[in-house]
């Protein structure tokens, strides 16, 4: 009962994805990988977690299978299910099962968003058993040594319903991600988009302004991802203030006064 369509080679990353290290996260991830420990990436959205995973997959030469978790995601979405094909039922592996069989890196993005039953299936994979029980077909697959489980989690959304359970988090090596400091963030924006240093500097300043507003009107400040978006627009000759509004402010809030205030801030900078 093997999946027919899965081609691991499609999940290899050929070219080095650009990743600007912030601390010693690369070394730690490599160590965890060698010791077959699962990894938890903590941090706000858009601060480079996905990019980091791509970079690590390239570095370790493993296929990377990413699952963006959402509140409809069930255990069978991860493990697999029966499908009907040509009048017969066929079992099809889910992304997690595929990763386990083929020694891929499986990255579950925003894992708390998923339904609670999904965390149960990752538990036996995340301790030293390293197995995936597939109840539906009565199989227990053992992970190959190359397999690696990584999950991400944003502790910023503090809500009782969306917290990672102790029983889950205590299985993982945790890497904390945060927005890079001003100099590094400027460099990331420039490398990603090719805009000039002066504009990149001001964009980073704007980001800091919005991050200072966290808690006094904004739930989150601008992420590196949003800065990259704004920079790309600017690169296409959109005026910087417009780029900030459309790519950053509008993404952060719908509040009319707040939007005006953010506009006043960006127009002060450019």
């Amino acid at each position: 009962m093997q999946s027919k369509s899965f081609k691991p080679e499609e999940y290899y990353i050929e070219d080095e994805p650009y990743y600007q290290p912030i601390g010693d996260e690369i070394a730690i991830f490599e160590a965890a990988y060698n010791q077959k420990l699962p990894v938890l990436l903590k941090g706000p959205t858009g601060c480079g977690k996905t990019r980091f995973m791509e970079h690590m997959a390239w570095r370790l030469q493993r296929p990377l299978i990413t699952v963006s978790c959402h509140d409809d995601l069930t255990a069978s979405d991860l493990v697999g299910r029966f499908l009907i094909s040509g009048g017969e039922t066929v079992w099809v592996d889910g992304p997690l099962a595929r990763s386990v069989r083929h020694g891929a890196i499986c990255y579950l993005d925003e894992v708390v968003e998923a339904r609670k039953d999904t965390t149960v299936v990752i538990h036996p994979l995340a301790d030293d058993r390293r197995v995936l029980p597939m109840e539906k077909i009565g199989e227990l697959i053992e992970a190959t040594p190359e397999f690696c489980l990584a999950i991400s989690y944003n502790p910023g959304y503090q809500s009782v319903m969306k917290d990672l359970k102790q029983s889950t988090r205590q299985r993982f090596v945790a890497l904390e991600f945060d927005y890079p400091d001003a100099a590094l963030e400027t460099e990331i924006i420039m490398t990603e988009t090719g805009i000039d240093i002066a504009t990149a500097n001001q964009l980073v300043k704007f980001a800091h302004m919005t991050r200072d507003l966290k808690g006094s009107g904004l739930d989150e400040g601008a992420s590196t991802r949003l800065l990259v978006h704004a920079a790309k627009l600017i690169h296409e000759n959109i005026p910087p203030v417009t780029a900030c509004t459309t790519a950053i402010s509008q993404a952060l809030t719908d509040d009319a006064d707040m939007l005006v205030a953010m506009n006043e801030l960006s127009s002060s900078l450019f």
Binding site: D212, A261, S267, L269
Partner: protein, 722 residues
């Protein structure tokens, strides 16, 4: 068709009623003679506003009526209204005389240079200006209104005039506010207040000296702004040009100008360069400041700074002490439970970042990190905030701050008590600590009293008696009933059939599909079953009247209902909170915490419910506004506010009759705008006529027996949450 202007007599009659002339002896004719010459629309406008001001004070209204026409010559109606309301605000906060001078000294408030400007009104711009100020780095600044025309700062609050109306267009007048905030922020941020002003002003002509200093310092500050906020700097230049053109003012003439300019516009120019230049010039023609530059109040700033510096040093060194002992605990290898008391000040160090290329950036607290015994220390947010504020004051963390406080070195109570001083609360500066301020709606004035009510959250001690047990026993049958209806409410997980995706195969669908295929039809892809989980996301607050009038059976009924409701809400798993409210006058609005959202419902909470006792009076609006604030801090798709009360809002002072009802109605409307469903349950024999007016016909009920109450609530639940 234009309506005919009112006659003199008609106006006099109207004003006589407004001013209650039989008692006040105000001469309505004087005002009427002015008003009669106006167009009908201006007449209506003035008379209507006069009546609204008269709801606050008759004298003030008369003064307004006398000056309204002059005001209308210079400002549009919107501004005149704002001006009148600013007078009533001043009446609230300072009394009749200051309010009268707002009206009389019209010229102080607005620039009467030209005709009917579209000014900017501070109160209206605050929702934009405050986040703007918070977005500028450094200490979180507050914004308040100044009585005068010039803006200034005390290093924590930025004081801005109630109106700006120098320019014809509101956009430019708004820009004055924005530029003022940035300019005053620059003073705080780039070290204007880091010099000893007493020494500077210890001379023959301190005023002249201060002016000279201000003029030179402004050159330096604007250079900083040009570097940090180039866009705003451009706007400032535009404002300056417009102002020069309009007021035909002169630019500054200074000897040694070239040199001074070179010095003060250098990238790393500091406050000492300003002082250095000050010594170079003898006398300058100091023009008045530009419209957004405001004035310096060194005494005020000095006093505020001194207090803050002392306080922050204490807080910071105590925070270091905590960090140090935590660090030692973590590093202790043996597992002894020994307390790590620090006897002498442990020393922290500043980690020097190798790449500090940005030396022009004088303040960048994000760059400074602390080390303890060679290890980097993770700083909690409140310590980071303290550091930022300290760096704003000194440009660095002074070395003596880096020693952790010794045991008993500081008595923090001293600072806490200072914060709780009710007078500070009235200045509106210490919202966060101890008390919160809320507006109150005055329907006659058609305007809010600002920061009118002082609300404090108080603890309610648990009372462990047999009340809970008795209640559960007494209402056993009712409880069973309720449980049942709440269980129905909860809803069951449903198995959805014929889904495109799902957990299991839908055999029925499959058989059907198989049949279809055999007979040559297209096969459906809806072949799965899926479990649909009902996830509730409801938050509810019960707000319980604890006023004196609930004494007796009503109080008992409230408590019994709460016990029953809490019991069955658990079934649904909804988040809920319980607060009791009472108080006496607007200065003492007391909210008793019975159960917060974060607390588990347990025996202690039950015992607190048992201890709900009648207190004083009922003011309603302020509590509803507070609940709205609490709701806005949590995330829930349905927010429900249920008030249990015995009747009308009523307080010791003027919160009676229509006034209280209208304020409550307004507060409920505000809650509605924030997406909160309000429902009122009144325990009273007689249905009252004002309830539909406040809550809307569908959102209240009157009951006369406890037994009805939980059923009513489950009804509301059914309507609102399913």
């Amino acid at each position: 068709m234009k309506s005919k202007p009112l006659t003199l007599q008609e106006i006099v009659d109207f004003l006589d009623i407004c001013f209650e002339v039989e008692f006040t002896f105000i001469k309505s004719e004087l005002a009427a003679e002015l008003i009669v010459q106006q167009t009908r629309s201006d007449q209506d406008f003035i008379l209507n506003l006069t009546r609204r001001v008269a709801a606050t004070n008759k004298e003030l209204a008369f003064q307004f009526a006398m000056n309204a026409i002059r005001a209308l010559d210079h400002m549009d109606q919107h501004m005149v209204e704002a001006w009148a309301m600013s007078a009533t605000d001043n009446y609230d906060s300072k009394g009749l005389n200051p309010a009268m001078s707002v009206i009389r000294d019209l010229d102080n408030y607005v620039d009467t240079a030209h005709i009917r400007t579209c000014g900017a009104v501070l109160a209206e711009e605050i929702p934009v200006l405050l986040p703007f100020a918070h977005g500028l780095s450094g200490r979180k600044l507050k914004i308040a209104e100044t009585e005068g025309k010039h803006s200034y700062t005390d290093t924590e609050t930025i004081f801005l005039p109630a109106f700006t109306s120098l320019f014809e267009e509101s956009k430019d007048n708004f820009l004055i506010y924005k530029a003022s905030i940035a300019f005053l922020w620059a003073q705080i941020h780039f070290g204007t207040f880091r010099i000893p002003f007493e020494k500077l002003l210890d001379c023959d002509a301190p005023d002249k000296q201060l002016n000279k200093f201000f003029t030179l310092e402004s050159i330096r500050l604007e250079t900083c702004i040009k570097r940090e906020l180039p866009g705003l700097y451009r706007d400032m230049q535009t404002l300056k040009q417009k102002e020069e053109k309009q007021l035909q003012r002169q630019r500054i003439e200074i000897e040694n100008w070239r040199y001074i300019k070179h010095k003060l516009t250098a990238d790393n120019a500091g406050i000492h360069d300003t002082l250095h230049c000050l010594a170079l010039v003898d006398e300058i023609q100091c023009p008045p400041p530009y419209c957004y530059q405001g004035i310096l109040k060194p005494d005020l700033a000095g006093a505020v700074m001194q207090k803050r510096i002392e306080k922050e040093k204490a807080y910071f060194r105590i925070a270091l002490k905590e960090l140090a002992s935590e660090n030692m605990k973590n590093n202790a290898t043996d597992n002894t439970e020994a307390e790590f008391e620090m006897d002498s000040g442990a020393k922290f160090d500043i980690r020097n970042k190798a790449d500090r290329q940005n030396d022009t950036q004088q303040v960048n607290s994000g760059v400074i990190e602390l080390e303890f015994e060679g290890d980097l220390v993770a700083l909690p947010d409140h310590v980071k905030e303290l550091m930022t504020s300290i760096i704003v004051d000194f440009g660095e963390i002074p070395p003596e701050y880096l020693y952790a406080a010794g045991p008993g070195e500081y008595d923090l109570k001293k600072y806490e008590e200072e914060l709780r001083n009710p007078n500070d609360v009235w200045q509106g500066t210490y919202h966060e600590e101890g008390a919160e301020l809320y507006n109150e709606w005055n329907f006659k004035r058609q305007h809010y009293h600002k920061n009118w009510c002082v609300l404090r959250e108080l603890e309610l001690e648990p009372e462990y008696d047999d009340f809970v047990e008795n209640t559960l026993h007494k209402h056993k049958a009712l409880l069973k009933n309720l449980r049942h209806s709440f269980e129905i409410l909860r809803g069951e997980d449903k198995l959805l059939k014929k889904q495109v995706h799902g957990d299991n195969i839908d055999i029925d669908a499959l058989v059907e599909a198989y049949g279809d295929v055999k007979s040559g039809m297209e096969m459906t892809d809806r072949l799965f079953t899926k479990m649909h989980k009902v996830e509730r996301n409801v938050a509810v607050i019960f707000m319980v009247d604890m006023s004196g009038s609930t004494r007796g059976w009503i109080n008992q009924a409230e408590r019994e209902s709460l016990i029953l409701l809490a019991e069955v809400i658990q079934i649904l798993g909804d988040r809920f909170a319980i607060y009791g409210f009472s108080g006496m006058t607007r200065q003492r609005c007391e909210l008793y915490k019975i159960k917060t959202f974060d607390e588990e419902y347990n025996d202690e909470i039950r015992a607190r419910i048992s201890n709900i006792q009648p207190q004083n009076y009922t003011r309603m609006g302020v509590f509803i506004r507070h609940m709205t604030r609490l709701f806005n801090n949590i995330e829930a798709s349905t927010k429900l506010l249920v008030t249990l009360s015995d009747g009308k809002p009523d307080d010791y002072d003027t919160y009676r009759g229509e006034y209280g009802v209208e304020d409550t109605r307004q507060a409920l409307y505000e809650a509605h705008c924030d997406g909160i469903h309000s429902y009122c349950i009144t325990i009273d024999e007689k249905a009252r006529d004002y309830l539909p007016h406040m809550y809307g016909a569908a959102n209240y009920s009157v009951i006369d027996d406890v037994a009805q109450l939980p059923l009513k609530v489950s009804d509301i639940y059914r309507r609102l949450t399913t």
